[in-house]
Amino acid sequence: MLLLMAAGGLAGGLGALLGIGGGIVLVPVLVLGFGIPMEQAVPASLMCVVANSCAAAASYVENKLSDIRLGLTLELATVLGAIVGGLVAAYVAEATVAIVFGLFTLYVALQMLLVRAPRQEPMTAANYVPSNYPLGISGSFVAGGLSALLGVGGGPLKVPLMAYGMRVPFKVASATSNLMIGVTGAASVAAYAWRGHLDLTLVSPLVVGVLGGAVVGSRLMPKVPTAVLKKLFAGVLLGVAGQMLWKGGAGLWPSVLR
């Protein structure tokens, strides 16, 4: 139980720092480290994403790091994309989508690692104006669709989309993503819970750990230099890319990768 709490704390801290929820860390840890079946690990990690969002976003909203208006706008496109993704899931080759998404996240990760941003970023949501709304809305629509098709959270896609596509300061993008993922995560968990796939015995220590980690992460985030956060984010994106490429590869060439 203490190990589960520690895993939750790590995922919560990282998720709060980067605006990714922590599911990308928790699912492999639960499956590979604790031997928990994927069917239980995914809804449990989604529950942790919701917990992380609530705990971290409370602090970010209070400190004016989260952009509530931008979050609402992109949330609408994300949920719409998720519904469309759910509708077309039966007609789309999941493995191909996973490989395309994996290559895209790999490209974004390398871009973040190798290219230096010259601009000075404002610290709060009060002193900047997001640009390129059409790109942000269409990107969020795609993020929602991918979330439904591949089971990945929107954070790894939405943070770079806001930061690079809409010229939102990285920390504001991360904090706004944190605010948004709670709503989409709650909807996903509700769907799992109604089908009886939510194991509350597993969720309890994880959520307690995540809440603690998220509180620490949300206090650390304003103090951590943006360059460090970007490097951390790029590392996480590399992990996502690896997972997606493996998932896609296992679908396309099962005899090689399984």
Binding site: C54, I68, L87, V203
Partner: protein
């Protein structure tokens, strides 16, 4: 055509507030030239008296919202999120503490109830945040965002009802 412009005169000193000079800008119609008249005291027409919520030199439609209301809105959103996180976290923690007690039917039922309550509380919190944010933005007159929040809530209801994973 006349415009009112407030100009702060002189270097502000820490101890005393800066002297304020009122300038009237007068434009000759049809010629595109402006004659600027500076005076220490200018009698302003009644309709040009500055509005209390408008910062000097800033048009009314670009003026920031009164700080109290803006802050109150964000605080309410933060309070909803924090309350949900603390209450559900507390209930999950209590259920873990109860697991250390000797097992009985009553303890088992209490743990089950606490966990179900905590999970429900956690799932409702982001949706409540969305509703509160939409309502507060509507109260501020930002109808577009209030409508977007309502749209997100409606789509979520559709998504959950249909069993999709948003």
């Amino acid at each position: 055509m006349a415009e009112r412009v407030e100009v702060s005169g002189g270097e502000p000193e820490p101890a005393a507030p800066p002297a304020s000079v009122t300038a009237a800008v007068v434009t000759a119609p049809g010629r595109g030239t402006r004659e600027v008249v500076l005076a220490s005291t200018v009698v302003m027409p009644a309709e040009l008296v500055p509005e209390p919520d408008t910062a000097p030199g800033v048009p009314a439609h670009e003026a920031p919202l009164p700080v109290g209301r803006a802050v109150a809105g964000e605080r309410w959103v933060a309070r909803v999120l924090r309350a949900g996180a603390i209450m559900s976290g507390g209930m999950f923690l209590l259920s873990l503490v109860l697991e250390a007690l000797p097992r009985s039917q009553a303890v088992h039922v209490a743990i089950d109830l606490l966990r179900k309550g905590a999970a429900s509380m956690l799932l409702v919190t982001p949706v409540a945040r969305l509703a509160v944010a939409g309502t507060l933005l509507g109260v501020r007159g930002e109808w577009r965002y209030a409508a977007i929040a309502a749209g997100v809530l409606g789509l979520l209801a559709v998504a959950v009802g249909a069993g999709f994973q948003a």
